[in-house]
């Protein structure tokens, strides 16, 4: 006992963390250890109170527990109906110091009864949370406007509101050994493919992140091909989108403190679909889908084709058009490759700067940047005005996919095409095009082909591909779900 006292008085908190629980021979020393472990945390409150049961020490984190909650759940029952506390609290053994610490950091309040030397934990987590607001990332004109928040419970409730079934399951698991990161796996029990579910759980079990601040980070850890530029899981902040995919037999992954939810497995094609497609009429939806899908291929081809045509294949274009292009480039001293790279990089810089700045300044940057590029750069002879039109169109097309990560990918892939066009012209473009397709055919999403439904898992998938058939025809779940009931 003397030995433990010496350790407690002389050692640092870091060293104490390594102490085995056997060095805490009684509940009193555990309290002292907890005190010492929270030495530099001013928000960990130790409060001693006299009650009918004798002295009670209340331990909680003031940043995670609101005073009103503490009053209602702990203080009032302590003074009036202490049996209520016994009924709702979870007893913890004094030797489980790590568990006690974890409970405090999770927003629980620990009660230590000095007379009975007993530890109880009460759920008092009441950290301030953001209200449910409109989505700014995936806004739609038609349909519900609510979006997920950073609270896991709120997010689950938003999904449950849409799927009111006892078959909607929500399994929780911890990712790290210190149980810091909680993941919720949601699926519909009688639809989901159990094999895919097991595969996902297995992947999650092997993940031990050092930091996990958003599902976007988790996604990169459990993707099939982490080196690919293409996102292999769908991400959304819209509860209706997630509900749609869950009803299709997919699996949703949620983590606390993240607004985005992962859906897996998903295909390349689904990166260009939006839930709004189902709210629109089928004709309009088909038009918009086609724009998004073919827009991806146009955005990666427009500026590289400009380079190819001017550098390698001037005979590709009719004389009049070529003359226009040459006239437009008459003042430009750079070869087309550098001209395109220059303007594309400026657009990237503008986009990045605009997105990082406060909204009002960001808009100004956009306008000023646009004018500088649109007029001054052309007049200065740095770029041709035809290229401005092409780059602007290409930039707009790159923002068509509803998933922002796919927009980023399209811009990255465009650089491969630009460089290939600069090296080998149209042949180079086609080489990269071949690479693109081989790559897309080889990568998988949770083991399922990423190129579904174009390389279909079943023919009915084609009813809900680029062409969105009328709702009456969409009776089957997508093949990529491998759902129990199709």
């Amino acid at each position: 006992m003397i030995f433990v006292k010496i350790i407690i008085r002389t050692s640092s908190a870091k060293w104490l963390k390594k102490i085995n629980t056997k060095y805490s021979p009684n509940a009193q020393y555990t309290l002292q250890l907890l005190h010492l472990l929270s030495d530099n945390s001013n928000d960990i409150i130790f409060q001693k109170k006299q009650t009918s049961e004798g002295f009670v020490t209340i331990i909680y984190s003031s940043s995670l527990v609101e005073k009103m909650t503490l009053q209602a759940v702990v203080l009032v029952p302590l003074s009036h109906s202490i049996y209520q506390i016994y009924q709702t609290a979870e007893p913890i053994h004094f030797k489980q110091i790590a568990a006690l610490e974890q409970k405090i950091n999770a927003g629980n309040t620990i009660l230590y009864f000095h007379e009975t030397q007993q530890y109880l934990a009460l759920d008092t987590y009441s950290a301030p949370i953001r209200a449910i607001t409109n989505t700014e990332i995936e806004s739609t004109v038609i349909g519900p406007q609510d979006s997920f928040t950073e609270s896991l419970e709120t997010n689950i409730s938003l999904i449950r509101r849409r799927i009111r079934s006892h078959l909607l399951k929500n399994e929780s698991m911890y990712l790290s050994s210190n149980k810091q990161y909680q993941v919720s796996i949601m699926y519909i029990d009688n639809i989901v493919n159990k094999k895919l579910l097991r595969k996902l759980k297995k992947r999650l079990q092997h993940v031990n992140p050092t930091s996990l601040l958003d599902t976007a980070m988790l996604k990169q850890l459990i993707e099939d091909n982490p080196f690919s530029p293409f996102p292999q899981y769908y991400m959304s902040v819209r509860p209706d989108t997630i509900a749609h995919y869950l009803l299709d037999g997919r699996i949703a992954l949620l983590i606390n403190n993240s607004q985005t939810v992962i859906v897996c497995p998903t295909s390349f094609f689904e990166m260009f679909t939006s839930i709004e497609d189902y709210y629109n009429r089928w004709t309009t939806a088909t038009l918009l889908r086609s724009l998004r899908f073919f827009g991806f291929f146009l955005t990666i081809m427009i500026t590289p084709t400009y380079i190819s045509a001017l550098t390698f294949h001037p005979d590709l274009l009719p004389y009049e058009l070529l003359l226009n292009l040459q006239e437009s480039r008459s003042k430009v001293p750079f070869p087309p490759l550098f001209e395109v790279l220059f303007i594309e990089l400026i657009i990237e810089v503008l986009r990045e700067a605009g997105s990082r700045m406060p909204a009002k300044v960001g808009q100004t940057i956009g306008i000023v940047g646009g004018i500088v590029i649109g007029t001054a750069a052309v007049e200065a002879g740095l770029i041709s005005n035809i290229l401005i039109v092409l780059v602007a169109t290409s930039a707009l097309l790159s923002f068509l996919p509803p998933t922002f990560i796919m927009s980023n990918t399209s811009r990255l892939v465009r650089y491969f095409f630009i460089i290939a066009a600069g090296c080998f012209g149209l042949f180079g473009q086609m080489l990269v095009f071949v690479w693109l397709f081989i790559h897309l055919l080889r990568i998988r999403s949770l083991g399922e082909p990423y190129m579904a439904p174009f390389i279909p898992r079943k023919w009915t998938d084609l009813l809900n591909s680029v062409i969105r058939f009328p709702m009456a025809f969409l009776k089957h779940r997508m093949g990529i779900s491998k759902s129990q009931k199709s």
């Binding site: 071949v434 397709f437 081989i438 080889r442 390389i455």
Partner: protein, 359 residues
């Protein structure tokens, strides 16, 4: 020796594997190869499709006797290890040369029209690097690539619109206006463009529904046959007889007939887009060569593929005379005709050694 393969190919995969491998680069030169028959060549693809369907039958019959073995393994089972391995070596050589032939003819086309001021070394390296990437994905990746290839390249058929408009329908008549010698010459040269379906002998063990393999392979053959029929038909309408025998890549010249106010040379787009068809053909042959190489030595190693690709690269850049190259390719192509008869020969051996083989 591996006796079982993981079955991954559906019947749709079989259809497109056959179809894409048939098209390849051969179709580009088909009208010239059939030129000895003049305008009567138009209907030759129908005859070729019939021959292909007939010769496919013994292949499937042989494969059905050994549902889990490819031809390399069947050779070893029926001919014994030493003789079997010797023939397997010849097959690997044969496939490697066909890869070299296809790549070199396509690269020659690219260099002469799309990249006239560049050496071809770097594009060839890029081409081969991608080829390795595709073949490493296995037969499943190649099959799916073949499906994609079909849908990406099929719109090129629309480019024949102008040639049909400008062509003469009367060129088709009189029908069957040729001698036997002309017919023989055309068949001998032209049927080479129709090869590729025989590779089913190697990917048959990977097919899930093996019983319907013949049906879907035949559909693949006939889709290609119809596409070749369109090509030869349009060529006959558009070109003169002299042009048919002297224009090397007639199909690309058909594209030149196209008129758009914003594009002058559609043939450049067609030619570069043709890379998909070249890949689907070459990848399948290289995959087959790689499988054969594996059956010879070190079954599980990946090094074979790299050795083969390095060999192809050296053969492509080595400064051999065009005459010698053509001679090698021609001999190689004629050996291919023997490959069509090979399943019949093996079936006879199987008939005599049935009991031994079953034991």
């Amino acid at each position: 020796m591996r006796s079982t393969q993981k079955k991954v190919l559906t019947k749709v995969h079989v259809l497109f594997l056959v179809q894409s491998c048939l098209i390849g680069t051969g179709i580009l030169q088909l009208p010239q190869k059939l030129s000895s028959m003049g305008y009567s060549q138009a209907f030759m693809p129908i005859l070729f499709s019939i021959i292909a369907t007939i010769t496919l039958w013994p292949m499937i019959l042989l494969n059905s006797k050994f549902p889990t073995n490819n031809l390399f393994q069947i050779n070893e089972i029926l001919l014994g290890k030493i003789i079997g391995k010797f023939f397997n070596f010849l097959l690997v050589l044969l496939f490697t040369i066909i890869c070299i032939d296809s790549i070199s003819s396509y690269m020659l086309l690219i260099q002469s029209t799309a990249l006239p001021e560049q050496t071809i070394t770097l594009p060839v390296i890029c081409f081969l690097a991608l080829l390795v990437y595709l073949v490493r994905g296995g037969i499943f990746a190649i099959a799916r690539f073949s499906i994609l290839t079909f849908f990406i390249t099929i719109p090129m058929v629309l480019f024949t619109k102008w040639a049909i408009q400008k062509g003469e329908f009367s060129h088709f008549f009189p029908l069957f206006n040729f001698t036997f010698q002309e017919f023989y010459e055309a068949t001998k040269n032209g049927y080479l463009s129709f090869l590729g379906y025989e590779l089913i002998l190697f990917y048959y063990p990977f097919i899930i529904q093996q019983k319907s393999a013949f049906k879907y392979a035949t559909i693949g053959i006939w889709i290609s046959g119809v596409l070749m029929l369109i090509t030869t038909g349009v060529s006959v309408m558009y070109f003169s007889e002299w042009q048919l025998s002297n224009i090397e890549f007639a199909v690309l010249n058909i594209f030149k007939a196209g008129e758009y106010s914003f594009i002058e040379r559609i043939d450049i787009i067609g030619m570069t887009l043709w890379i998909f068809l070249v890949y689907s053909t070459v990848a399948l042959y290289l995959w087959a060569a790689n499988e054969g190489f594996k059956s010879l030595i070190l079954a599980k190693s990946q090094i074979h593929l790299y050795i083969l690709v390095i060999a192809i690269f050296i053969a492509l850049i080595i400064p051999l005379s065009q005459h010698l190259k053509e001679k090698i390719f021609t001999i190689n192509n004629y050996v291919f005709y023997l490959l069509l008869l090979w399943p019949i020969f093996l079936s006879i051996i199987y008939f005599f050694r049935k009991k031994q083989v079953q034991q």
